[in-house]
Structure formats: C-alpha cells, structure tokens
C-alpha cells in the first residue's frame, strides 16, 4: 500500500515544468515501480471535464522515483490560477492506487516567445471512444445538428470515432454498429470506415 502524498506544485507559464517525486510504501519503504504504469492529470477543478496529461518519466523505478513533466508549449497556454492534479499508478496485477495529489499554481510568464507556438486548435486531432449505446447524445436530428456544428466550427479537425466491441479490432463495422452509436448521416457522408490498414 503506497502512501498518498499531498504535494502542491507551481508551474510557470511558458516554461518547461519538471518535478521529481519519490514514492514510499506505508512504513517508509520505497515503492518498487518495476512494471508499474503511472498516469497523472491536471484539471481546473476536480469535476472539470477536461484535463492535461502529465508526461511521466520513470527516473528510477526500483527506488520509486518518477518525474512529472509538462512541456513549455503546453504551460504557455495554461491560464494563471489554481488547478488540481493527481497521479495514479497501475500495479502489475492491474490494481490501481492514487499515490500523489495536490494543487498546482500556474503563474503567468513574463515573456512570450514565438518558439512556443504549436499546431493550432483548428487542427486538433479528436478521438472519441464510445462502447455503449449512444443514447445520451440525443435524438437523430440533434446528433445531425451537433455534427454540423462541429464541422462548421472546426472544418480542419481530424476526428476518429472508435468503437470498442467484443469482436474487436479489424472487424468491419456495419449499419447496426453505427446505428448503435447514433452516427448521423452527415458524419457518414464524410467518413472513412474500414480503411485498409485496419483490416
């Protein structure tokens, strides 16, 4: 059982953020992170719908050392203010534990540099993964309107709709599959399904 550390961090906008942490078991023994995976996210609030994922570096797995990193092109786009973050590890047996949490204070940067520029929001890649019925998305006409709104607003965004199923990767989707997700006609009119690398 790992100790959950509460550690408040400070992130300077426009600068690379990196901070090392050492994880301990209850009782003070170092956590051996061999074959562990870790995931950390930063959100504006605990119930916020969006999050930035930390780049996690395993500095010394045996000694329980990890580093949380956020590149400067990401910190440069964070508004100043207070955020929350946490880090969860997945053990080799699949069990997950929260090991680190706290607040993050984002401070405004003094200087801005064009080298921080990154591909624009208009070109963002979007991936939706939905395995259950798309009943929550709305009626047929509502879904049609939502997709039209998305494409009108972001005509250059790449969009992937992934559908986890029991028959799985490589199998053809059918009309039944996209009806289950309430995929609208205007989506189907522009999409590529069953593209060659997949089958």
């Amino acid at each position: 059982m790992s100790v959950v550390y509460v550690n408040n961090i400070t992130i300077d906008s426009g600068e690379d953020f990196s901070q090392d942490f050492t994880l301990y078991e209850t009782g003070g023994k170092l956590v051996d992170l061999t074959n562990y995976t870790a995931k950390g996210q930063l959100r504006k609030h605990a119930d916020s719908n969006t999050a930035i994922t930390f780049q996690i570096e395993y500095v010394d797995r045996v000694k329980g050392k990890i580093a949380l990193n956020i590149p400067r092109w990401t910190t440069s786009l964070l508004k100043s203010g207070r955020y929350v973050y946490d880090v969860m590890v997945t053990k080799p047996n699949g069990n997950r534990e929260l090991v680190l949490e706290g607040t993050a204070l984002v401070r405004p940067g003094v200087s801005k540099s064009p080298e921080f520029s990154s591909p624009g929001s208009d070109d963002r890649t979007c991936i939706a993964v939905i395995s259950s019925s798309g009943v929550g998305i709305g009626t047929t006409s509502e879904v049609l309107n939502k997709w039209e709104q998305f494409r009108t607003t972001f005509p250059n965004r790449t969009f992937y709709l992934l559908q986890p199923t029991s028959d799985g990767f490589g199998n053809f989707v059918t009309e039944t599959d996209w009806d289950a997700l309430r995929v609208p006609d205007n989506f189907l009119a522009e999409t590529t399904v069953n593209i060659s690398p997949l089958i």
Binding site: T74, S131, F159
Partner: protein, 104 residues
C-alpha cells in the same frame, strides 16, 4: 439513419479528416488485449507539440489501450487532453472545449 447497402466504399466520398466508426478491442485493462490506437489513428504523423483530445465514455473497458496511447503520445511530446463526463455524447466535448490547453 444512413441507408447503407453494404457495397459502398465510404472512402470514395470521404473528406480525409473523419474516420470511423472503427472497431477496437474491449481490453478490460489487459495489455495483451489492447488495441494500438496510436497506429489506428495515424498519430505518428503529428508533429511534436501537438495536442490530441480524447473522449472516452467507459474508461475501464479500454484502460490498457488508453494507457498505451498516452505512453506513445507523451514519448513524442504530444499533449493529451482528456474529456469525460459527457453522458455518451461523443461530439459536444469537441465543440464546447477549445482544446487549446485552456482547462477552464
């Protein structure tokens, strides 16, 4: 819904920006069952400093695939923005968030 006859090649009229539905594996956290979303979504073509926004309605069903994706993206210095809690609505999260790193 779309009157698909079963014989059409959707890519003939595709815009090259929209893909799917694409079936992937339900992995239930098992790495050996994970699908390689990084390859499926051709993310190796993204430049360093890019962002990928991802919405997942049932994360436990595809946790291993998601973890593998994040590992590959972060190794390429690509920022992952995760969007959730939209009640199976797989479009609205990408309309209502500007996905620029602003986590408001």
């Amino acid at each position: 819904m779309y009157n698909y006859t079963g014989s059409e090649t959707r890519s003939e009229i595709a815009n090259g920006l929209t893909y799917g539905p694409v079936k992937v594996n339900i992995d239930n956290g098992d790495v050996s069952s994970a699908s390689d979303w990084f390859d499926i979504c051709n993310l190796s073509s993204l430049p360093e400093g890019s962002y990928v926004a991802i919405f997942i309605d049932n994360s436990s069903a595809t946790q291993a695939s998601y973890d593998a994706l994040v590992t590959k993206l972060t190794a390429k210095n690509i920022t992952v923005i995760t969007v959730d809690d939209f009640n199976q609505d797989w479009i609205s999260p990408f309309i209502f968030n500007d996905l620029s790193g602003d986590l408001s």
